[in-house]
């Protein structure tokens, strides 16, 4: 048992404990040099700051979390509130959250760009942080000189760079231009070289912020491949991105940060599901379909609202490919009579050329409805939603006894589909390009 916990401790390479970070808003000093010096001198001797209000002093003297939060006034705010987590060696941890949630502040503290207000981070091993590629590149220097400089800025020694130079040049595909000043590079070459250096830093812990979003698709694939290699080498990576599909395909685990707090930690797919749920702001919820003017049909029954849910009834803003999703169409009858033989159909269209990709009527699966209420919902559950990531137009049409009752001609809504684990294997598949995902069983004989 003891040995286990020892090994556990050994495995932990990052330990974040009760991290708080306060930023002051507006003016950052007391306004005059004199009162700054007064405050500083008082702090130095452990006396009270003559320029703070009494209540602020008391709160700073016993920094319990609730007291800390109370010090949040119009002058300052907490970018991080009591964040604690630890990372084991070889984990790739994704950090997701909305803009301004505190992700960047966390990374800045872990990359030692700024200090926390309270709490501590303990790290075992060399850290490289990639908050930007090509930091410190100088336009007048040649590619080779910049590789050395950039490497040294990230903590690589000269010999280490020399050893990796060939590899870096090959990765960046610029071998002919390595002795040309980088100001003569095309922007693509520049980014490739910058990224090549970044990709060949060989730290025990790598902190990456959004930077993978540079370069063309081929180069991005190459970078992802490099990340894979980093993972195989047992390195620890912290990865911040807004591109959930990238987080999904790279990370083992993820955490959500919201308003400075660590909300949840778990496996990547759980966390992404949670995040999508929590970040749903009903963008996709349509309750004013009756206002659509451009529609066709006799109007016996009309489409009134639309939204999508998961199987537990939570509303969603997007669909993850492979998830079980429910399409909910609200209706309203115009006449006080029961309707027989009502059919509803929905179709997905390509945004680019409006090509119908698939059409599904209730009657196709042997269902027609009898409507007795004035208002109600049609629900259609699609298991393992089979489209790849991208944007699709959804259209819907109602018929009564085979006669068109309602058909909004411009469609209902555009739906975003994000990359997910359709194949249940962790592979994102081919990526955007083909529309459909089909599951199959491969074998060799």
């Amino acid at each position: 048992m003891l040995d286990n916990s020892r090994a556990d401790q050994l495995n932990t390479v990052i330990n974040v404990e009760g991290l708080w970070k306060q930023y002051r808003l507006g003016s950052i000093n007391h306004g005059t040099l004199i009162s700054d010096i007064q405050s500083w001198w008082a702090r130095l001797r452990g006396k009270d700051d003559p320029n703070l209000r009494i209540d602020q002093i008391q709160k700073l003297q016993n920094p319990t979390p609730s007291a800390m939060l109370d010090t949040e006034t119009d002058r300052c705010f907490w970018a991080l509130r009591d964040v604690s987590f630890s990372v084991k060696e070889g984990t790739i941890l994704g950090i997701i959250g909305r803009n301004g949630a505190g992700k960047s502040t966390l990374l800045k503290i872990m990359s030692r760009l700024t200090r926390p207000t309270l709490g501590q981070v303990r790290i075992r091993g060399r850290v490289s942080s990639l908050l930007e590629v090509g930091t410190g590149f100088h336009p007048e220097l040649t590619g080779r000189e910049n590789v050395y400089l950039n490497g040294a800025i990230h903590g690589m020694g000269k010999q280490e760079v020399t050893r990796k130079l060939d590899e870096i040049v090959a990765f960046a595909e610029i071998d002919k231009f390595i002795d040309t000043p980088v100001k003569r590079y095309s922007s693509g070459m520049y980014v490739r070289l910058a990224f090549a250096v970044a990709a060949h830093l060989d730290p025990e812990i790598l902190i990456v912020d959004e930077v993978l979003a540079v370069g063309d698709i081929v180069f991005q694939k190459k970078c992802l491949g490099r990340m894979e290699a980093v993972r195989k080498a047992g390195r620890t990576v912290l990865f911040v991105s807004h591109q959930l599909n990238m987080v999904e395909s790279i990370c083992d685990e993820a955490i959500i940060i919201d308003k400075g707090c660590l909300v949840k930690r778990g496996t990547t797919s759980d966390i992404i599901t949670e995040y999508m749920k929590s970040s749903c702001d009903n963008r996709l919820y349509k309750d004013n379909l009756l206002n659509i003017k451009n529609r066709r049909g006799n109007g016996k029954i009309l489409l009134k609202s639309f939204h999508i849910e998961d199987t537990s009834g939570n509303k969603w803003d997007n669909i993850i490919s492979g998830m079980d999703v429910v399409f909910v169409f609200g209706y309203e009858c115009q006449f006080e009579e029961n309707l027989d033989n009502v059919d509803i159909g929905m179709s997905f269209h390509s945004i680019i050329d409006n090509q119908a990709l698939t059409i599904l009527y209730a009657s196709y699966v042997g269902k027609v409805f009898k409507i007795v209420n004035k208002n109600g919902f049609f629900r259609c559950m699609v298991k393992r939603f089979p489209f790849v990531e991208g944007k699709y137009k959804l259209r819907a049409r109602l018929t009564v006894n085979g006669a068109e009752a309602d058909f909004p001609l411009d469609g209902i809504v555009d739906i975003d589909v994000v990359c997910g684990d359709f194949f249940r294997s962790g592979s994102p598949g081919f990526g955007p390009g083909p529309y459909y995902l089909v599951d199959g069983e491969w074998a060799v004989e």
């Binding site: 401790q9 050994l10 990359s111 760009l113 200090r115 207000t117 309270l118 790290i123 410190g136 040294a152």
Partner: protein, 320 residues
């Protein structure tokens, strides 16, 4: 006076305490290195990031690890300044020559200031070269934080590498200019100007070190303060010029009335310049007490500079 005393003792106490704890840390590290591997790795974290602690919080060992970076910064500065210029490094020579020419015309021919019996060209050139090195160190390091805010905001490395590399890259131009001075010196010696190369010329590295430390110290103090108070940036260029006239560059100390000489001692640069002229050309006096005073001043400025700098570097990204 009471407050001042208190401040001095308090600072001294803090410094001794900080040095002591640093020594203890080094000892601990050393023991860990030679001690039981398993145990030490269990306890030891390589990096601990905490809120600001103490205020002598610099890691000199880390600075040493980044020496390659200092070298590369020096190289970058040297290469990039003169790329795409026609005359290239020749500018290092043209600047002091032209300034000497102007000074000779204005201060020697027009104002007829004494040069202690030295050939005016040699007198002004020596002053200009030495002052230029100090002023460059000061001016270029005073921009450290604001000028590098973008790169400092993206990646961590010991921030002191930047001002240190500036001081070193200025040393290159200083050496080139010193060679120029050597040529003029030889020329005038052969002409029989009666120059005495003093044995104390061996002190040159010490003088240079002192100037570098003083420039660095003042520069990083200013750069630390400019993160909050931008007004100082306006003051630097102007202040350096005023300081030059307060230093015996265009005039010798000997023209200052005896009862005002003590005021010269308040300026740590004047003893240095005088010493430089004395050891190479044997005029004026070497003021040992003055040199001690200016060294002491330099050391205290450098230490307070480093303390201030390391305090600012931890949180300046939130301020700048």
């Amino acid at each position: 006076m009471g407050l001042l005393d208190e401040m001095v003792w308090f600072c001294l106490g803090q410094i001794i305490q900080a040095i002591w704890s640093e020594l203890m840390n080094m000892k601990k590290r050393w023991i860990n290195k030679s001690g039981n591997q398993y145990d030490s790795s269990l306890e030891q974290w390589t990096t601990i990031i905490r809120p600001e602690s103490g205020w002598f919080d610099i890691n000199l060992q880390e600075l040493w690890c980044y020496r390659d970076l200092i070298y590369l910064f020096v190289k970058r500065d040297f290469v990039s300044i003169y790329k795409q210029t026609i005359l290239g490094p020749l500018w290092y020579l043209i600047q002091p020559i032209l300034t000497t020419l102007v000074f000779t015309i204005i201060f020697d021919k027009v104002a007829k200031l004494s040069t202690d019996g030295l050939p005016p060209v040699l007198f002004y050139l020596s002053g200009i070269i030495v002052w230029r090195y100090f002023a460059d160190c000061l001016q270029k390091t005073s921009n450290t934080f604001v000028g590098n805010a973008r790169i400092f905001g993206k990646v961590y490395f010991p921030r002191l590498t930047v001002p240190i590399s500036v001081v070193i890259s200025n040393l290159i131009s200083f050496t080139i200019q010193l060679a120029l001075f050597g040529c003029f010196w030889l020329f005038y010696s052969v002409q029989g100007a009666g120059l005495n190369l003093h044995l104390a010329a061996m002190l040159l590295p010490f003088l240079v070190l002192q100037m570098a430390a003083l420039g660095l110290g003042c520069g990083i103090i200013i750069s630390s303060l400019t993160t909050k108070y931008r007004d100082l940036a306006q003051l630097v260029g102007f202040g350096i010029q005023l300081w030059m006239y307060a230093t015996p560059i265009v005039y010798p100390v000997s023209i200052i009335p005896e009862q005002w000489r003590w005021a010269m001692a308040l300026n740590p640069m004047s003893a240095t310049i005088e010493a430089f002229r004395y050891v190479f050309m044997g005029v004026g006096t070497i003021n040992i007490a003055g040199l001690w005073a200016s060294s002491l001043m330099t050391i205290s400025i450098l230490i307070s500079g480093i303390i201030l700098f390391s305090k600012v570097e931890h949180n300046f990204m939130d301020v700048v």
